[in-house]
Symmetry: C2
Subunit: 193 residues, 2 copies
């Protein structure tokens, strides 16, 4: 085999997450990631070919974690709880929430991604698009641009908005916003949805 590893990918991704959530993108230097992990820089590069790929990995991990629960609920046809999932997930994962909702992927990992990373990203996007589409279909019997817009607004955009300013301020989203999300959900998609 070879020498026993003291550090693995997760160590570095965790460190990057912490830095990114607490101090923003500029603070995520390779030296800082190494420092935060108590590792030498070389070990970071031993696991990730570049900073971009490290951040891509972090991003995918977060999106995956978020989407898993969201899609599960949506597949159960439980739109309301899918909408509420964002709020709940963020309360449970404040650091991840900050990264997901306060930053754009392109501003973090700007360069080219290796193929496998690109594919994982596309997979996640495809998955959510498909599920939104089929939920829309079940709800309205068709999924025109207008229908999709409406569903996306209630299921994603509003929950996102409800939570953003509190993450920005470093606070846990207050209890009250669940009701905002819920009320908006019914207003936009109807009581029966």
């Amino acid at each position: 085999m070879g020498r026993k590893a003291r550090f693995n990918k997760d160590h570095f991704v965790d460190a990057a997450l912490k830095l990114l959530a607490e101090q923003g993108p500029a603070a995520v230097t390779m030296a800082a990631v190494a420092g935060e992990s108590g590792a030498p820089i070389g070990s970071v590069y031993h696991r990730f070919v570049s900073r971009d790929v490290l951040l891509a990995e972090l991003w995918l991990r977060i999106v995956g974690s978020f989407q898993r629960g969201f899609l599960e609920t949506l597949k159960r046809d439980d739109g309301l709880n899918a909408a509420l999932h964002t709020v709940r997930w963020v309360r449970k994962h404040p650091k991840e929430g900050r990264v997901l909702l306060l930053h754009r992927r392109e501003d973090l990992a700007s360069g080219e991604w290796p193929d496998d990373v690109k594919e994982r990203a596309e997979g996640l996007t495809r998955e959510i698009n498909e599920e939104i589409r089929s939920f829309t279909l079940r709800l309205y019997g068709r999924s025109t641009r207008q229908h999709l817009l409406r569903v996306t607004f209630a299921l994603i955009d509003v929950p996102y908005a409800s939570v953003r300013r509190h993450l920005e301020a470093g606070n846990v989203p207050p209890k009250a916003i669940d009701d905002f999300v819920k009320d908006t959900y019914f207003t936009i998609l109807g009581r029966e949805s």
Copy 2:
């Protein structure tokens, strides 16, 4: 006096805006700003002591432009149109909209700001907070944390959310979202507001 100026602050702020809106924060280098303006780097530094201050200026200009209309409408006690102002303003100012809604101030101009810039920023923040507060007061007779939360959600967060994904995609926000914003507004703040 001295030599006639070929370039003024606005030239460079405009160039920075274009770069930022079209290619993101990383593309706004001092060299790029100079290049985009057809000016030498020296002239940029003649107007702005640092990149941070240039971006601060850009940010303040945009926030000011947005807030002006928003506050005017709100002062008229026309909450609904204040909410809709975001959508309309973004349609009219797509580049500025992208900057305002897709980026965080701290991620753009991270360093220390000179006092005058800091004061202008605080002035804008104070102004909007006060106006939101007095609108809330007029609407509910008091302005507790809960009331403010509710008003902020309907007036700022939801409009923001309704527009964001379309800016991200480089599109003009479609017509339909005005209705989403409106319906949500009434749901959250009541018909009489």
